[in-house]
């Protein structure tokens, strides 16, 4: 197949697959899959910028996603004034001590030549910093966590509309990426992978265990929404009229008035769910389009060409006077910021922040699959990868159960082998994912929608 045709064919196939889910399962399910597909695509674009344009292997996608999620909580949740009143000062002081110690450490590290003095100073700063922080931090968090622990027990957030968090998440993720990049980007490529993998674990450890900040594994639920609630819709006049008008013929066919009313009620409940999901889909899709448009612009600009030149031949680009480290840092920050946005969107969609749910397999390696199978270096490919892999990830479970049932077809109902096969069906999707990745790397290393090589 010619490479120009691949993208339209791939997206048509994807649309048909989603439509099949819509017709066979329900449109509500199909829409939920689509929403997560869009978020996955955005993450995949972020990773694609880093890997496809910059050649950087970021194995810390999960960390940036969680940062995005945390930002969503901190921006949208109402502030807990009581906690701030009683312990805000302590937290602020320990934060100041923390920042001061880090600054002092950096200063000593950079400016003092004598090794002995330097090491003594470093140790002194760490010891006194720790003592100082422990003095203020421990008591403060005890107070914060004791205030209404069942419901809040944390500092709360800014109380702004959650949609702002998408932007702020980009800034937060970008800042963290700047720090990580400063540390790791001078090293070899696989060091970057290992270091980012580790740092993302640290981020998760922090959001899981710093209850005063994120409520930890007690989760934050009931975040506000950028779209209307189902229950509001069901009570509003215009929505009822809309549903009635759309389903006019169905309702007319009803004989009695009461059955007509029952049908209408059912329809309103169903449609309100679908309407909410459509609203989300609309919002997410606009973000996706915007990010896609901007990344395409960047890719085709002189800046994008320079990045690809660096990716393809670092020495040559360096000889042409390009600052490799600075460019890598830029692309690393931009890619991570995009992942941060997606993380905030995910938490917005869920309406809750659950630190325990961040697993590297789901949030790092699956995203990598999307980029590689979709076609690294091509944003359209990443979007397709996001849709396709997420679709498989979701639909693999019912398919595996079907497959196992087929395997165990001849066996009796309570046969232990049959029970084992059905019980392990859920693990088959890991196998499918691994197999897809290996097959793609072997037979289609450039992905489904490969990078276009510009000849000019």
């Amino acid at each position: 197949m010619s490479e120009d045709l691949r993208a339209p064919v791939a997206f048509t196939v994807m649309a048909v697959l989603l439509a099949i889910v819509g017709f066979t399962q329900s449109w509500s399910v199909s829409l939920s899959v689509i929403n997560l597909c869009i978020i996955s695509s955005i993450m995949a674009i972020g990773v694609n910028l880093q890997w496809g344009y910059g050649g950087l292997f970021n194995a810390g996608v999960m960390g940036f996603t969680a940062l995005g999620g945390l930002t969503a909580v901190l921006v949208s949740h109402d502030p807990i004034y009581e906690a701030w009143d009683k312990a805000g000062v302590g937290i602020v002081i320990s934060a100041i001590i923390f920042v001061l110690s880090i600054t002092a450490l950096l200063f000593v590290f950079r400016n003092i030549e004598n090794k002995q003095i330097r090491n003594t100073l470093i140790i002194l700063i760490i010891v006194f910093g720790l003592i100082g922080i422990n003095n203020f931090y421990g008591p403060s968090i005890d107070i914060i966590e004791s205030i209404n622990p069942a419901k809040t027990g944390f500092l709360g957030g800014l109380g702004l509309p959650i949609i702002f968090s998408w932007l702020i998440a980009a800034v937060v993720a970008g800042l963290v990426a700047w720090v990580i990049g400063k540390i790791t980007l001078r090293l070899r490529s696989d060091y970057l992978a290992i270091a980012t993998l580790g740092i993302s674990e640290i981020v998760i450890a922090v959001v899981k265990h710093e209850d005063w900040l994120s409520r930890g594994v007690k989760n934050v639920s009931g975040l506000d929404r950028p779209v209307p609630y189902e229950i509001e819709l069901q009570q509003s006049e215009w929505f009822l009229n809309l549903v009635e008008r759309i389903n006019f013929s169905k309702l007319e066919a009803m004989q009695s008035l009461s059955s007509r009313q029952d049908l209408l009620n059912d329809l309103v409940i169903n449609s309100s769910g679908i309407f909410v999901k459509l609203c989300y889909a609309g919002l997410f899709f606009s973000v996706l389009l915007l990010i896609f448009y901007l990344s395409q612009l960047a890719l085709n600009s002189p800046w994008g060409r320079m990045l690809r030149a660096i990716r393809d031949n670092e020495e040559a680009a360096s000889a042409m006077g390009k600052n490799i480290f600075a460019q890598h840092l830029q692309i690393f920050i931009i890619g991570s910021a995009i992942i941060g946005i997606a993380g905030a969107m995910l938490t917005t969609l869920d309406g809750q922040f659950t630190p325990g749910s961040y697993r590297p397999l789901r949030f790092t390696f699956i995203i990598w699959l999307m980029v590689i199978i979709g076609g690294s270096g091509n944003n359209l490919g990443s979007i397709f990868g996001g849709f396709f892999i997420w679709f498989i990830w979701i639909e693999a479970e019912p398919l595996s159960i079907g497959f196992m049932n087929m395997l165990a077809g001849g066996l009796e109902y309570d046969n232990p082998l049959r029970m084992h096969l059905l019980g392990s069906a859920a693990h088959l999707r890991l196998f499918i994912m691994g197999l897809l990745l290996l097959l793609a790397l072997r037979f289609m290393p450039r992905g489904v929608i490969p990078e276009k090589i510009q000849k000019k």
């Binding site: 001078r186 490529s189 060091y191 992978a193 270091a195 580790g198 392990s424 790397l441």
Partner: protein
């Protein structure tokens, strides 16, 4: 009893810090060695290594069950030690099968290390599926035999101290087996012809090929050694604690940290890195309050727990150390690179 304060403090520290760290460190050192051997000879960071560990341990558990069901046990020692050689054979064969069907293609293409690393992510998925499919995702204990060598209560009574020292038999087994494995590995690498050719191949592939070293043979030997080390490490860890695929997957991170901290590609570095990571994980999260209560006079007793980091961060410590090493000395403690 006052004169024993110092001894009490030392016993306390040994019981909660030194003994556990020594055995965890030995397990980690073996696992890191296998990662390092793969890195040094095949030149890629193998993300699937922790899942090879699960696979090897799973095979051992299956053989243990088989032996137990036909009535073979090792007396006071765990049956798993008898099962270990068989499990190693199975693991090595499966490793070689995966190498033939997956990795060898990229080796012939002379792909970049990063491509091999991504390939290993694919292998990781498949191994996780296989292990969970065969034995399930749950926690399993497969330890049998005599549990304790020194029991806290006996120790207390015997020496008349306030603090007891517990040494589990698995801890002693771990240290002994790890020592044997390390000594034989270093002997193999330094003294035998095959080991020397492996180091030569790792050092300079082209020169090694010119001097008539058969690369395929080197690759096979590398996978076999890696399987021996990783299966042993996994079994020792599982005997000491328990076997759970997800916990094993999480060991990947300390393994990488240990490899880099010690100096990636250097076997000595891997051993040092393993112990450094294990000791820091345990020493930094231990609450020293009681320790200082024994040592200091009454009016100087500490108020807090005297804990540097909460145990919640046990897991993150290896990375904090990794980050510090990356900043201060990116080549690691032993300047690594070749095996």
């Amino acid at each position: 009893m006052e004169n024993f304060e110092f001894i009490n403090a030392i016993v306390l520290l040994s019981n909660f810090v030194i003994v556990p760290a020594l055995s965890y460190g030995s397990q980690l050192a073996l696992a890191t060695l296998s990662l390092t051997i793969i890195y040094g000879v095949l030149r890629f960071s193998n993300f699937a290594q922790a899942d090879w560990m699960s696979f090897g341990t799973m095979a051992t558990i299956l053989f243990t069950w088989l032996f137990q069901s036909i009535g073979i046990t090792a007396g006071i020692l765990p049956t798993a030690l008898l099962a270990l050689p068989f499990a190693i054979i199975v693991t090595a064969l499966f490793c070689l099968l995966i190498d033939r069907s997956v990795y060898s293609f990229y080796r012939k293409q002379k792909s970049q290390p990063i491509v091999l690393m991504i390939v290993s992510v694919g292998v990781m998925f498949i191994l996780q599926a296989v292990v969970r499919f065969i034995i399930g995702p749950n926690d399993r204990k497969f330890f049998d035999g005599e549990k304790y060598i020194v029991h806290a209560l006996d120790f207390k009574n015997y020496f008349g101290l306030e603090e007891g020292l517990t040494i589990k038999s698995t801890q002693l087994i771990t240290v002994i087996v790890a020592l044997i494995a390390m000594i034989s590995l270093f002997y193999f690498l330094q003294k035998t012809k095959l080991g020397k050719s492996m180091r030569a191949y790792s050092n300079n592939e082209d020169l090694a090929l010119l001097s008539g070293i058969n690369p395929e043979k080197i690759v096979i030997v590398t996978w076999i050694i890696s399987s021996i080390l990783i299966t042993t490490a996994g079994v020792l860890y599982g005997l000491d604690k328990s076997f759970k695929p997800f916990t094993y997957f999480n060991l990947l991170l300390p393994m990488f940290a240990a490899a880099i901290v010690g100096g990636i590609g250097s076997p000595i570095g891997a051993v040092i890195g393993g112990y450094v990571i294990a000791f820091s994980e345990i020493t930094l999260t231990y609450a020293y309050k009681k320790f200082f209560v024994y040592l200091l006079p009454e009016n100087l007793e500490p108020l807090g727990l005297m804990q540097v980091l909460s145990t919640d961060y046990k897991f993150a410590i290896s990375f904090i150390i990794l980050v510090i090493v990356l900043i201060v000395r990116p080549t690691g403690i032993v300047r690594g690179k070749i095996i």
